[in-house]
């Protein structure tokens, strides 16, 4: 029902709701209005251009462990 992928915040703009995110070398603007205190370096779950959740370091690790066996991790 809903595609969402983990991406990394690489910069934040002054308007408090726009960020630039990176997913595996692909960058685009993302709306981060729906997450608490977005920071550069945070991993977020992106759905249709909006961040819907923030991942902790442990979440990123868990994901990378799953992916590691198959392809490059997102780190």
């Amino acid at each position: 029902m809903c595609l969402a992928v983990p991406v990394k915040i690489v910069s934040l703009s002054k308007d408090r709701y726009t960020a630039v995110v990176d997913a595996g070398g692909v960058r685009r603007e993302a709306n981060v209005a729906m997450i608490e205190e977005p920071q550069v370096g945070d991993y977020i779950l992106l759905h249709a251009g909006f961040a819907i959740q923030k991942w902790s370091i442990d979440d990123v690790k868990e994901y990378n462990e799953i992916i590691q066996r198959r392809e490059d991790s997102i780190e």
């Binding site: 595609l3 070398g25 685009r28």
Partner: protein, 336 residues
């Protein structure tokens, strides 16, 4: 309201495109046309030639890794090369829109020139037309035709694959399609990706002059690797089985596909070949490809099998299986 009309899906190179081809065949069908190869194979007295035509309407005109001029040459010579022929001469027809800047036109022609040199073909005839503003997609369209001389005793038709043969792809997939999608779809994606647009005739030349076991060649353009493999399986009435973890996909291509809900197997390539060869020549094919600048990343992705004829099956990373189907319509970004 109920008259059937052309939609963009008909341009996707998949099953919808076939509806157009069916009408053409109904009125124009003949033994040569009915082969439906990328080029027609003709006998002119004692000379066997391959003859092809193609149109280019790519938007944007200039994209990372190339432009409409380069793609017009590469696409055309690749169509000749895939039919087992050496491209020699081509035509170039320009359909220009009022308002097009001369500077851009010159850039495109210069790019045709350098691609033609690289591919070792001569542009020997052409035509120009100018249409009103808004009638050529905001710039220019190009139509080409080309002829090539067939390699002695070589038949690379998609119908030649047989159980036991192996399947090679000459590198990463989806580079071109994703590059263009990033440029075009109002998606605002940015990456360092470049189109893989390249002339493959020198590589094909090396293969066909030194390896006897080449069975089928296909360039996986519209519809991507999936369409090329479905074509081969269908025409050869054989099954094809490929391994997901053998197929090379650049990190950026995979990421863009994940974001937009695309399958890299369905995305266009402009500088890759799918090679089906006998088992005993596979090693040699890989060596030749890896030594060529356009085949460095070549890889064995699977084989032709006697099971599930006319069907392509993918062995997934988790050890499951799924059918790879002919792509349909166009790739549209999805939220689901």
């Amino acid at each position: 309201m109920n008259k059937k009309i052309i939609t963009s899906a008909h341009g996707g190179g998949g099953t919808a495109t076939k509806e157009i081809i069916d009408i053409v065949r109904e009125y124009l069908g003949n033994p040569v046309l009915d082969q439906l190869g990328d080029s027609a194979l003709l006998n002119l007295g004692s000379t066997e030639i391959a003859f092809t035509t193609d149109s280019y309407v790519i938007d944007p005109i200039v994209f990372p890794g190339g432009d409409i001029g380069k793609i017009a040459v590469c696409g055309t010579v690749n169509d000749i090369a895939m039919e087992g022929a050496k491209p020699l001469y081509m035509s170039l027809s320009l359909i220009l829109e009022e308002g097009l800047e001369f500077e851009l036109l010159e850039r495109v022609i210069a790019s045709v020139s350098s691609a033609a040199r690289k591919a070792d073909v001569l542009v020997v005839t052409g035509d120009t037309k100018v249409v009103e503003h808004g009638r050529a997609g905001g710039g220019l369209f190009i139509n080409t035709a080309a002829v090539g001389r067939r390699y002695e005793g070589c038949n690379t038709s998609v119908s030649n694959a047989a159980p036991g043969d192996l399947v090679v792809v000459t590198g990463t997939i989806g580079d071109h399609g994703v590059t263009i999608i990033n440029e075009r779809e109002e998606l605002d994606l940015e990456s360092d990706l470049q189109s893989d647009v390249a002339p493959l005739n020198t590589l094909v030349d090396e293969l066909l002059t030194s390896v006897p076991g080449i069975k089928s060649l296909r360039d996986p353009t519209r519809g991507g690797l999936a369409a090329a493999l479905c074509d081969i399986a269908g025409a050869s009435k054989a099954g094809i089985e490929i391994e997901e973890d053998k197929i090379k996909v650049k990190r950026e291509v995979k990421a863009a596909c994940d974001l937009l809900g695309f399958d890299p197997l369905n995305i266009a390539n402009e500088g890759k070949a799918v090679i089906v060869c006998s088992e005993d020549s596979a090693q040699k094919v890989l060596e030749i490809c890896s030594d060529n600048e356009f085949g460095r990343e070549s890889v064995l992705i699977g084989r032709v099998v006697s099971e599930h004829p006319e069907t392509v099956v993918l062995r997934t990373r988790m050890g499951g299986k799924r059918i790879v189907d002919m792509p349909r319509g166009e790739n549209l970004p999805r939220i689901c």
